[in-house]
């Protein structure tokens, strides 16, 4: 199915000017910070497997859901700090803030701590806002996930709860978990299932409304270890914590940053847990990116911070729009539009 999606957004000439100015300022900033631009394939043999992200198939491979795997292989092979503005695809994600195809700005800074990566997010948001003639966000706030859980639910979690305990605690707080995998034989799969479902229910019921009321720029960091995804786990205040953050502006999620996990064995174990959760809820089996794991083992990933930032959402916010198609330059799109 194809359809015109001009919607009720910016006039076409203004959209083209907006994208041109924003792409230019994004590239200028990242180059000035010492990163090289790369352009990696859109069709790939394997994607970064996630419990609830489905790739579009492009036989004999897939359309990339993120450029992460390929960019990390370049980092392993000595690229130095790099960035990319890439087209990425996620099946069946259609809504005001979702589109099956969108743009990610993805960058990796060698040897940088996460605070520097958060600073990049702030600078890129302001650069895009300036390109659209909007004033900068101003001051940003940073909160730990557990702190926000306590603040919004009235009583806290430790972050290391197992599946059964978390499901019980969550139900007591009015957030029953509805996810397959809570009874999986593997404790890693059960834990991943419970925490993934908990964070989804909590975000929808508490975090998102709180962020919308608060407005402005917020980084949410220090995730429970079960939600580490591809980030390193570190000790923070005596407890294990995933070194990652998510950035929001006016309640809209814009970016996801990691202190990148470098241990190949740990990486393979996390892929296995994700595959187990996917199996539990009947998602298609996806191949493990063996080339990526081989590069982690063979060359090693240099210490780095990496961030992915959704450019379409950023431009939507920059012009005060509320739906992605109001700023999109896609005159017609193949795929679902009926959200």
């Amino acid at each position: 199915m194809t359809s015109d999606r001009s919607g009720d957004g910016l006039p076409w000439g203004e959209r083209v000017a907006l994208w041109d100015a924003a792409l230019d300022s994004v590239r200028r900033y990242l180059r000035a910070e010492g990163m090289r631009e790369v352009s990696t394939p859109v069709r790939v043999a394997g994607v970064a497997v996630e419990p609830f992200i489905e790739p579009l198939t492009a036989p004999p491979g897939y359309l990339a859901t993120s450029p992460e795997m390929v960019m990390k292989r370049l980092l392993c092979r000595g690229s130095g700090s790099i960035f990319q503005v890439s087209h990425v695809f996620r099946a069946s994600e259609v809504g005001a803030h979702h589109s099956e195809e969108f743009h990610l700005i993805e960058w990796y800074r060698l040897g940088a701590p996460l605070a520097v990566a958060r600073g990049d997010v702030e600078s890129l948001v302001d650069a895009a806002f300036a390109a659209a003639g909007r004033a900068p966000v101003g001051s940003w706030s940073t909160f730990g996930v557990l702190e926000l859980i306590e603040r919004t639910l009235g009583c806290g979690l430790r972050g290391d709860e197992g599946a059964e305990e978390l499901a019980l605690e969550s139900a007591r707080r009015g957030l029953p978990l509805r996810v397959a995998g809570l009874d999986d034989p593997s404790p890693e799969v059960r834990r991943l299932a419970a925490w993934t479902a908990f964070i989804s229910e909590w975000s929808d019921a508490h975090l998102d409304p709180w962020l919308e009321r608060r407005g402005g720029g917020v980084h949410v960091c220090d995730f429970p270890p079960a939600l580490a995804a591809l980030s390193e786990i570190r000790e923070v205040d005596g407890r294990a914590s995933a070194a990652r953050f998510e950035s929001f502006v006016d309640g809209v999620e814009l970016a996801n940053g990691y202190q990148e996990l470098r241990d190949p064995a740990e990486q393979a174990a996390r892929f296995a847990a994700v595959a187990g959760l996917r199996r539990a809820h009947g998602a298609p089996v996806l191949p493990v990116d063996e080339g990526f794991l081989a590069d982690l083992r063979g060359f090693g990933l240099p210490a780095c911070a990496g961030v992915a930032l959704g450019l379409d959402r950023l431009l939507m916010l920059a012009v005060g729009a509320t739906r992605l198609e109001q700023v999109s330059t896609a005159l017609s799109v193949a795929g679902r539009l009926d959200a």
Binding site: E93, R178, I199, G282
Partner: protein
């Protein structure tokens, strides 16, 4: 069906009842489960509910189809419709037809909804044209707008119409609200 197949107008079966999705919103926090927030309407009772499904859940698609049929007659307790191609006749109970009965003229074309081959509902066009059979005489010279009088149409339905409407004239009625819309000139 998988929840990712949800969209507006999708027809679902829940607890043995057919529902249609009338509104649909997809949200997905971070790397979490997608939430499909839907308003669904019971196709038999018309009741509207909010339901949220999570990615990974499965749904039952409802076996619902709609067929064009003509209204034939009523016994008071039930209403009979006919497929004008196959001449097949079906009956709908009066409580399912509800207030739509006010607008059922002989031979009127309607959409009859079948759920698992059983007729469960009626959907008629948003406007019908009906003849006035009784009305108080208009007061000459009174042209004030918004002033209405009681009138009756050929099905016996009573309606408020402007003062200038006379017996024998035809009027357009909104079947969703039951209100007069305009006079129809021949």
């Amino acid at each position: 069906m998988d929840v990712s197949d949800l969209r507006k107008n999708a027809k679902l079966e829940i607890d043995g009842q057919p529902y249609v999705v009338v509104d649909f919103q997809f949200v997905k926090p971070g790397k979490g489960q997608g939430l499909y927030k839907c308003k669904i309407k019971n196709m038999i009772t018309g009741a509207v509910l909010d339901r949220t499904w999570r990615s990974g859940e499965r749904l039952e698609a409802a076996n619902v189809e709609s067929r064009k049929m003509q209204y034939l007659y009523s016994t008071g307790e039930s209403f009979t419709f006919m497929d004008s191609e196959t001449f097949e006749q079906v009956e709908l109970a009066a409580d399912i037809v509800g207030s739509d009965a006010n607008f059922l003229l002989d031979n009127l074309d309607c959409d009859i909804l079948f759920y698992n081959e059983r007729p469960v509902g009626l959907s008629m066009s948003s406007h019908v044209v009906m003849e006035i059979v009784e009305a108080e005489p208009g007061v000459k010279g009174d042209t004030a707008t918004g002033v209405t009088k009681q009138a009756k149409v050929s099905t016996g339905y009573e309606i408020q119409v402007p003062l200038f409407i006379k017996v024998g004239e035809r009027v357009k009625i909104d079947t969703r609200t039951g209100a007069y819309v305009e006079r129809v000139n021949n």
